[in-house]
């Protein structure tokens, strides 16, 4: 077996050193009733490396993907450009195959990279400090709620209904077994009504959680909410799903957010059917000892040279056990390296270009919409909701777009069961070119004109294999 270096002679010599007769004697402490005959598991036979490549290639080719479609999907996962250098850096064995940097002298590469990552994330979000990652945006939001309870010693959590439904579901799930009240504030329309959110805050509230830009892509002024939080001594938690937004618009820190959490997937990480992505967690310095997760700090070595270590570990489970601020251990370390590399390649200017192109593409798409399709009103970054007259029209467009090799959006009711089945959540990035928008609008025109002629045609759910693009 190619990953096992021992020869049979090696094994024999080692068994002799140990003083046992055979391999099975090494397992004598496992009761015989539980021993299985070698080869008796119901698994396929071993594959050569070539056959593994073939198997995975066949599976990959059975999927459609952003490389051979025009992808207008968002909902917390975005098809941004990933420079080749990012994948090169995270493929380096010294980053890829290192463990958690608990032995700092031989992990300074990971540690300095984490320090740079934390510094850049803090700057991008406008926050004072960042940790060294959480699993994903959903679990970051859940951990933010728990942290707010620790900081304020209050337990009521107010969640805006315009936060991504997945973030809400995971947070509600995390909180449901613990003390405290979880209040979800229903929103009217595809935007965040701050008045409604503010009305839900009281003196027992530990934090209010809003998303900015919200689940529908809407951008709004958080200042009134900050004032309301101050009035009730509760924390302002701002969630986000596309961190590139903050190269263009005021970041959470500019509004005085106490905790800002979200996804860093947009910062150089491929979509990969849902993971591994990157949960970002930032807060004010004063709350750092209540923060979950690992964090890297600057220090000196015996010779007085600058170096980095994992620090504040007395918050963590391996020291504090049942009293830890979180149970998290393994995090998304390598994805921090990816994001640090990405941001280094981009710089302020590159990030702003990414953000401007992403926003401009959505703007151009909205400007070209036919009158029968409405985009949600108000300021939007790179995501919005398109509303159709009815479900049949919307589905007809979905079918047409699939035929044209476009992933035109996500039916909103698939994400939020309370939504009417006639909307699409649509997102753009800098990967969307003029030609993609033109094709999208043409598909819309074809579908709408056809629908108007024959509304009752049974939709054929797209299954065609699209021709390759790019």
């Amino acid at each position: 077996m190619r990953f096992l270096p021992h020869t049979d002679d090696d094994r024999q010599a080692m068994l002799e050193t140990i003083g046992v007769d055979g391999m099975r004697d090494l397992f004598a402490d496992i009761p015989a009733e539980f021993h299985r005959d070698p080869g008796s598991l119901d698994l396929p036979v071993a594959l050569s490396e070539a056959c593994i490549v073939r198997k995975f290639t066949e599976a990959a080719e059975a999927n459609r993907h952003a490389g051979n479609t025009r992808c207008f999907l968002g909902n917390g996962t975005y098809c941004h450009f990933v420079p080749a250098v990012v994948d090169y850096v995270i493929s380096r064995g010294e980053f890829l195959t290192a463990y958690t940097p608990y032995q700092p002298e031989i992990a300074q590469g990971t540690l300095q990279t984490l320090f740079e990552f934390q510094s850049m994330i803090a700057r991008l979000t406008g926050m004072e400090v960042s940790n060294a990652s959480m699993y994903d945006a959903s679990t970051s939001v859940a951990e933010a709620a728990l942290m707010a309870q620790r900081v304020t010693r209050k337990s009521r959590i107010v969640m805006a209904g315009s936060v991504n439904p997945r973030y809400r579901a995971v947070t509600e799930n995390y909180l449901s077994r613990l003390d405290g009240e979880y209040v979800q504030v229903a929103m009217d329309g595809f935007a965040t009504s701050l008045d409604t959110v503010i009305k839900a805050i009281d003196d027992q509230t530990a934090c209010v959680i809003v998303q900015y830009p919200d689940f529908y892509g809407s951008v709004y002024d958080l200042a009134p909410l900050r004032a309301a939080c101050d009035a009730h001594m509760c924390l302002l938690v701002v969630a986000f799903s596309d961190a590139t937004a903050f190269a263009l618009i005021d970041p959470p820190g500019a509004y005085g957010a106490d905790i800002a959490v979200g996804s860093g997937q947009s910062l150089g990480i491929p979509m990969e059917f849902g993971g591994p992505h990157l949960g970002l967690f930032t807060c004010k310095q004063q709350y750092v000892r209540q923060m979950p997760g690992r964090v890297c700090g600057m220090t000196e070595d015996l010779d007085g040279k600058r170096g980095f270590v994992l620090t504040l570990s007395t918050r963590e489970q391996h020291i504090r056990r049942e009293k830890a601020t979180s149970n998290i251990c393994s995090n998304q370390g390598l994805m921090c390296t990816a994001a640090a590399t990405y941001m280094t390649l981009m710089g302020d200017a590159g990030l702003e270009t990414v953000a401007r192109h992403s926003a401009a593409a959505l703007h151009q798409l909205i400007e070209g919409l036919p009158t029968h399709v409405q985009a949600a009103p108000g300021a939007h970054y790179n995501e919005t909701v398109l509303s159709f007259a009815d479900q049949a029209t919307r589905n007809h467009f979905m079918d047409e777009s699939i035929r044209q090799n476009i992933f035109a959006g996500i039916p909103l009711e698939q994400l939020d069961a309370s939504a009417e089945p006639r909307h699409l959540l649509v997102a753009t990035t800098e990967m969307i070119e003029e030609d993609d928008i033109t094709t999208y609008l043409q598909a819309l025109e074809v579908a709408l004109s056809f629908t108007h002629k024959s509304c009752h045609r049974t939709p054929t759910h797209g299954s065609g294999q699209g021709a390759g693009r790019r």
Binding site: R166, H318, N327, G333
Partner: protein
């Protein structure tokens, strides 16, 4: 001397914020260069974030130099106990980068993702077969996340029987710190079970702690001393008779894979650290994945979304009334999970048991070679890792930490130190199946030399260690007292 220290060229490399030169021109980017709407411009960021930006050649050199300050599995032996640092096959890196896997959006229509669903579903069935617990969720993002998921399911099981007073979770004192932390996050409270003199659970102590409030026992088997809990059948029976369930921490599955199945022993629920047993890279701390396998008792409570096989397609089940609900924002860490699938596929049914065989062979070989020079707190056969302490070296003023740091100068990553907590000065060594006899011999020779230097009082190099890496011992107290977590340009 057979081993060689780390002594390659090492460049000092400033923080990227300290690079004098800032990139003259931004990276070339695709997209629509049109206008941003005026409504959005009213929210325009007031000042740039302050992310320096390096040109591509500078950025590559920056990160390559930093990488060279790291020890990784590809640079050397990594005998970290309870971490299972094995070789990460390169073909696994190749296949997950296929465009049809890497660039798939999680909300694409189901008919457009049948290929990846098929691979993930197959992995579910394999993990079910390997663990003896046939129902699997791939959603948890790491081992501790799997523990939380498992404890949520166990709680849901008791609640479904209106047995809502069962909130007590028994956790042996040798357990990983994540176990009690995860139980608490699931709204339970923990009671610590003291290990017996042989490093194993004492069934009498267990029995005394079981009552009608016991929700579960969280058990690591083999435990973190490297010993198999040979009373496992009795332990599970006792817990079940008391109305509780048994949660298995699969961090040490490498000792059992292909040899014996936790589900057959009576364990109800097990998380599997695929970044340990199934060779997905640790990445400097993650990402991992912690799929959870359960028996029929717990299957109604598995998280959603989950993958099911229909007649001629794979479907994603999004809601289910008995489910505990979602614990993660997607179906799971697909890229990590697919690497694990590739590892299992490479071994197949005929070789899978050799993982555990060679892992256990290697640990026992190291144990036997080091037995006289180092104190072995729990003598006898170990499984995939062996536990030593610094008791003998203490007499010469040398501690576990010194031994660990000296190993660095001799070219090795240290073992896990000061864990488990139940012995003083623990050194937990896990060699894994992908290390050669030659590597183990050079490591043992290094350990024996350190022991000999202690004995002869020649300990200066040990106390000064490490001298070879780019930094010497770092001041962790200073770092924690006044935390500097981000760079300020005036620093």
């Amino acid at each position: 001397m057979k081993y060689s220290a780390t002594s390659g060229i090492q460049h000092e490399e400033p923080l990227l914020f300290e690079h004098a030169h800032k990139a003259a021109e931004s990276i070339s980017l695709p997209g629509v260069a049109g206008n941003v709407p005026a409504a959005l411009e009213t929210f325009a960021r007031k000042a740039p974030a302050g992310i320096p930006g390096l040109s591509e050649p500078e950025a590559v050199r920056h990160f390559v130099r930093l990488s060279q300050w790291n020890h990784g599995i590809e640079t050397g032996f990594y005998p970290l106990g309870s971490c299972t640092m094995k070789y990460n096959p390169r073909v696994n890196e190749q296949v997950v980068r296929l465009p049809g896997l890497a660039h798939v959006h999680p909300d694409q229509p189901e008919e457009s993702v049948q290929g990846v669903l098929a691979l993930l579903y197959e992995l579910q069935t394999w993990l079910g077969e390997i663990s003896g617990l046939p129902h699997v969720t791939l959603q948890p993002a790491a081992g501790a996340h799997g523990e939380l998921t498992g404890m949520m399911m166990i709680r849901a099981y008791h609640d479904s029987r209106n047995d809502t007073k069962r909130r007590k979770v028994l956790v042996p004192d040798s357990a990983h710190g994540t176990n009690p932390a995860s139980a608490v996050l699931a709204g339970m409270h923990t009671v610590e079970i003291k290990s017996g003199a042989n490093g194993r659970i004492d069934p009498d102590v267990l029995r005394a702690n079981l009552d009608d409030e016991t929700a579960a026992l969280m058990l690591t088997n083999p435990n973190t001393t490297g010993m198999f809990e040979s009373d496992i059948a009795d332990i599970c029976r006792l817990v079940h008779e008391a109305g509780g369930l048994v949660y298995g921490d699969g961090a040490n599955l490498n000792a059992l894979v292909g040899i014996a199945r936790p589900g057959d022993m009576g364990i109800d629920c097990l998380h599997i650290n695929v970044h340990k047993t199934f060779a997905t890279p640790h990445g400097g701390g993650g990402p991992g994945a912690g799929p959870v396998a359960v028996n029929d008792t717990l299957s109604p409570f598995l998280p959603v979304p989950r993958i099911e096989q229909a007649r001629d397609s794979y479907n994603i089940v999004k809601t289910d009334d008995s489910s505990i609900g979602p614990v993660f924002g997607s179906i799971g860490q697909t890229g990590v999970l697919l690497r694990a699938a590739a590892y299992i596929a490479a071994f197949g049914r005929e070789h899978l048991h050799k993982i555990a065989e060679d892992a256990v062979l290697n640990a026992n070989y190291v144990r036997v070679r080091l037995t006289d020079a180092y104190h072995v707190p729990f003598p006898g056969l170990c499984k995939h890792e062996c536990l030593l302490t610094d008791e003998i070296q203490n007499k010469h003023g040398v501690k576990t930490l010194d031994i660990a740091k000296r190993l660095i100068d001799l070219g090795f990553h240290p073992m896990t130190v000061y864990f488990p907590l139940i012995v003083h000065g623990a050194m937990l060594i896990e060699p894994t199946e992908t290390e050669s006899k030659n590597t183990l011999d050079t490591f043992c020779d290094a350990m024996l030399e350190i022991a000999k230097q202690c004995e002869t009082g020649d300990t200066e190099a040990i106390h000064d260690a490490p001298m070879m890496p780019i930094r010497r011992r770092l001041d962790e107290t200073q770092a924690a007292r006044k935390p500097v977590l981000v760079w300020h340009d005036d620093d």
